[in-house]
């Protein structure tokens, strides 16, 4: 019989070893807030927007908007450009793929194994 408790450190290490773990956490934290989700939606739909326009659109102080933008930036979801004295931000959707990947992997270990069996047998067919 396998020793249950000795495997806990291995599992903890499995999670640590994922290189994108910290960024995934930052992305999930960023989109956990409804205001930030709205900001991100606006950016994706409209392209570049001035920070001051975002504040006006959401009827928020520049200070509050800046805090939200910092969180989105930390997640890599937003990038900043300055043109003269104008600050523009735009969305970067690449980090969203981390969420996709995590959800795709979030399935039973037996589904992972059956999928692997499928690909091993199918590639075998192709080689014969």
């Amino acid at each position: 019989m396998v020793d249950y408790y000795s495997t806990a450190p291995m599992i903890a290490r499995m999670v640590e070893q994922e290189p994108d773990t910290r960024q995934l956490s930052n992305v999930l934290k960023a989109v956990s807030d409804p205001t930030r989700r709205s900001i991100l939606t606006q950016l994706v739909q409209e392209g570049h927007i001035r920070v001051t326009d975002i504040a006006a659109y959401f009827d928020m102080s520049l200070n509050s908007v800046s805090k939200h933008i910092k969180v989105l930036e930390a997640a890599g979801l937003v990038s900043r450009q300055t043109m003269g004295r104008t600050h523009l931000i735009s969305a970067n959707m690449e980090p969203v793929s981390l969420i996709d990947e995590w959800f795709t992997q979030l399935r039973s270990v037996w589904d992972i194994r059956l999928e692997k069996l499928d690909s091993v047998l199918t590639e075998k067919n192709q080689n014969e």
Partner: protein, 141 residues
């Protein structure tokens, strides 16, 4: 019943005998019995008979975790039942594989994994139910 059942299935574009035999072939087990993404199976061994055991070592980084089980039923090419001992299932569990020809060709593989919340449930499942059902089957046919 206080058991925890997971059922999943997959259509595989390969003949039923090939899909069936893959489960009793240690080289094939080493290729698909992955514990999770990014892990490997450095070794596997199989005694392909009822009462025989299989052993699979799974590896993550430098840690090796042995898994194993015993074959309870092997019906070529319809069904395999084996017990599954893993670190996540303290009281053990049972896996049933049902193999059917798919209408569109290939094989429909169904996997039923029954975990046990406690030992008495497991013992009932492995011992009692099997013989009860077998007796019932005999009475009905």
């Amino acid at each position: 019943m206080s058991d925890l059942t997971l059922t999943t299935s997959r259509h595989i574009k390969a003949a039923r005998n090939i899909v069936f035999d893959a489960w009793l072939d240690p080289e094939m087990l080493a290729r698909f019995m992955l514990p999770g993404e990014g892990m490997t199976v450095p070794s596997a061994s199989v005694e392909p008979q009822v009462g025989g055991r299989f052993a699979i070592v799974m590896q993550a980084g430098d840690q090796q975790i042995p898994h194993g089980g015993e074959y309870k039923e092997i019906d070529r090419f319809d069904r395999i039942i084996f017990t599954w001992e893993s670190p996540f299932s303290v009281d053990g569990s049972t896996v049933t594989l049902n193999f059917k020809d798919a209408d569109s060709g290939g094989t429909d593989l169904e996997l039923i994994h029954v975990k046990f919340a406690d030992e008495p449930t497991r013992d009932n499942h492995l011992g009692g139910w099997d013989s009860i059902l077998a007796t019932l089957d005999g009475v009905l046919s």
